[in-house]
Amino acid sequence: MKLKSLLVGLGLLAGASVAQAEDPLKVGFVYVGPVGDLGWSYEHDLGRQGLEDYFGDKVETTFVENVPEGADAERVITQLAKAGNDLIFTTSFGFMNPTIKVAKRFPKVTFEHATGYKRSKNVGTYVLRTYEGRYVTGVTAGMMTETDTIGYIASFPIPEVIRDINSTFMAAKSVNPNVKMKIVWVNSWYDPGKETDAANALMDQGVDILIQHTDSPAPLIAAEKRGMRAFGQASDMSKFAPEAHIFSVRDNWAPYYISIADAVMKGTWAPKDYWGGFKEDILTIESVNSNLPADVKAKISETYAAVKSGEIKPFTGPIKDNKGNLVVKAGHTLTDVELAQVNWYVEGITDEIPR
C-alpha cells in the first residue's frame, strides 16, 4: 500500500490501472498527516481498512498521506481522480477549496470532504460532533484540575476548533465555576516539537490538565514526564502516557465510510451534510484511566450518556460571547449550519481569537 500511495503521489498510476472482471469501486483517501500520526490521519486510515475488510474484493483503496493543505492538495486530488477513483475522501478542513475545484472538473467522481461546509453536485461533507467529546472532556478537566487552570493546545482558528474550545470551557465551568483556560495556538495539525513546547509552556504557567486539538501524542508524553494529566485526541493514545492519560475521544470512521461506499455502489448517493457523534458511534470514549477517582469516573459515564441521549446539548442558549453579546438565544440550540459558523469565544474565556 505504501508503494502504491507513493506511485499515485508521483502520478505513475494514472492510466495504469488494470481493468478487472468485477470492476471494484475504487476509493481514494487524502490525509493531511502521516498515517503514523496515531491521531487524526491514523484513524481515517483505520476507517479505510474497515472499508476494505467490509467489502473485500468489491473495493480497492489507495491513500496519499502527508498532503499539505493548499496547492499541493489540488494536485494530489486531481491525480487520484485521474487514476480512476470513483470515490475520494479528502480528510482535512484545508482540502475544502481544492476538493470543490477538482470536483468540478471530474463530475463523475464522488467526493466526500471531512469537516468542511462547501458542497456541490458531487461533493458531500461529513463532520464529527467533536464538541460532544469535548463536553465530556471539559467536565472531566473541570473536576480534575487542582490549579483551576486548563491548558488548550489549538491548531488553527477555524469554526471546528473554536467550537470545541467553547464546548470544553462551558462544560468545565458547569462543574467548576473558578476554572480558567489558557489557549495556545501552534498553527499546525501535526508538529510534535511545537506541540511539546506548547505543552511545556502551558504547564510552566500553572496548567495541570492539557487538552489538545492537534494530532500527535507529544502533549500527552510531555504531561506524563511532568506528572500532569492530559486527554488523547482522535485515537486511543493511552499507551503513550499510562499515568497521565485521562481518556481518549476516538474518531471511528469505518461505519461512515462503509455507508457512503455502499450508497455509491447502489447509485443512491447524494451530497449531504452529515454530522455524526456519540449517538452514531462515530465518536467514542476510549480507555478511561483506572487511576481516576471514582466520582470522576462516574461523572464521565453520566455525562457521556446525557450527551449521547441528547439530554445535554452543549450549544443551547442562553450563551453569551466573551464580549457580552448574546450569541445563542434562550431556548435555542444551534443548528448544524450555525454550528459550522461559530466564530466567537464564550463568556469567561479571557482571550481573543487570532485573526
Binding site: P34, G36, I183, P192, G193, T196, A201, D204, Q205, T350
Partner: protein, 310 residues
C-alpha cells in the same frame, strides 16, 4: 511573570537551544577550516532518523546517539570527498546534501513515524541542581545537555589554546601558507568537516531521542539553517555560539509562552521571532562589511588543491 515562570522559561530555552548549539558547534569548526557546508539540515535529519532507528531497534539510547553521529560523519564524508577531492562547488554540494538527506530520511523513517521512545531522562546534578534558580535552569537537564556544556568549553579551549586550534585556523585563513609549512591541509579539512557532520548527527539525535522523542519527517524544521546563521551571529567565536543558541531557543518558545500569558499578539507574528532575529543579526553584521571580512575565516568557501600550487 513570577520568578518560577522565568526559571521555567530559561530552562526551556536551554533545552530548545541545545540542538542548535550542537549543530552550530560542528559547523563553526568546519568553517574555521575554510569549508562551508550547507548540508547541515540534511545531515541533521539523517542523524535524527538513524539515531531513532538504532535506539528503537537496540533499546539502547547511547547506541542511538553513536549511530546518529556516525551517520552524520558519513554524510559529511561524502560531502568532503566531493568538495576536497573532486573539487566540486561547496555551496552547490552542500545544498545537494540537504536535499538528499531530507528525502532519504523521510524514506528510511517512513515505517517508524509515530513510534515513540522513553527518551533520555533528566538527571539533576547533585549539589549543583540545589542552587536556587540557577540550579533548575542549568543543572536539571538530561545527559546530552551536560555534554553540550562540556563540548563547548572543550572547543573554546582547543580552538584558542592548543596547537590543534592553531593548525585549524591556519588552514582556514591561508591554506597555501599552511601547506608551505608542512600542514596537511586536506587532512585537516577532512577531519573538520567530519567533526561537523558528527555534531549535526548528534543534534538530530537530540531532536528524535530527547526533544520529542519520536521520529517525524522533516522534524528538524529548519534548525540546520538557523545554525548557519548562528555561526555568523557568533562571528565564528565558539563561546558566542552558546549564547546565540540559547537566545534563538528563547525566541522560538516565547511565542507559545506569551500566548499562554494572554498577550493578544498574533501567534503568526510571534512565531516569526527567531527568523526575524536571524535577519536582523545578518543585517547588523553585514552592515560592517570590513568587520565581517575580518571575522570570517579568510579562505572560507574557496577550494584548495595542493597539486595546483601557484
Amino acid at each position: 511573570m513570577d520568578a518560577d515562570l522565568i526559571v521555567q522559561i530559561l530552562f526551556a530555552a536551554i533545552k530548545t537551544g541545545t540542538p542548535l548549539l550542537f549543530i552550530a558547534l560542528g559547523e563553526v569548526i568546519c568553517e574555521k577550516s575554510g569549508i562551508l557546508n550547507l548540508g547541515q539540515e540534511g545531515m541533521m535529519l539523517m542523524g535524527a532518523v538513524v539515531g531513532f532507528l538504532a535506539a528503537y531497534g537496540s533499546g539502547n539510547m547511547g547506541f542511538g546517539v553513536l549511530a546518529a553521529m556516525a551517520m552524520g560523519a558519513f554524510m559529511s564524508l561524502l560531502f568532503a570527498v566531493l568538495v576536497l577531492h573532486v573539487g566540486a562547488n561547496q555551496v552547490a554540494t552542500g545544498l545537494a546534501l540537504t536535499i538528499f538527506g531530507t528525502g532519504l530520511s523521510a524514506f528510511v523513517g517512513a515505517d517508524f513515524v509515530g513510534k515513540t521512545l522513553q527518551g533520555f531522562q533528566p538527571i539533576p546534578l547533585p549539589l549543583l541542581s540545589d542552587i536556587p534558580y540557577l540550579g533548575r535552569v542549568l543543572f536539571s537537564h538530561d545527559i546530552l545537555v551536560y555534554f553540550s556544556f562540556v563540548m563547548t568549553i572543550a572547543l573554546i579551549y582547543v580552538v584558542n589554546k592548543t596547537r590543534i586550534g592553531l593548525t585549524l585556523k591556519a588552514v582556514g585563513e591561508n591554506p597555501h601558507a599552511a601547506n608551505a609549512i608542512g600542514i596537511k591541509v586536506l587532512r585537516v579539512r577532512y577531519l573538520a568537516v567530519m567533526f561537523g557532520g558528527a555534531m549535526a548527527g548528534l543534534s538530530g539525535a537530540y531532536m528524535s531521542l530527547v526533544y520529542t522523542p519520536m521520529w517525524v519527517e522533516g522534524m528538524t524544521a529548519g534548525r540546520g539553517w538557523i545554525a548557519l546563521a548562528l555561526v555568523v551571529f557568533a562571528s565564528w567565536r565558539v563561546g558566542r555560539i552558546m549564547l546565540g543558541a540559547y537566545l534563538f531557543g528563547l525566541a522560538s518558545i516565547m511565542h507559545l509562552v506569551l500566548q499562554g500569558l494572554g498577550w493578544s499578539i498574533s501567534p503568526n507574528l510571534l512565531a516569526m521571532l527567531p527568523y526575524v532575529a536571524t535577519v536582523i543579526v545578518m543585517v547588523i553584521i553585514g552592515a560592517d562589511h570590513f568587520k565581517e571580512k575580518l571575522l570570517a575565516p579568510r579562505s572560507l568557501g574557496k577550494p584548495f588543491d595542493p597539486r595546483n600550487m601557484a
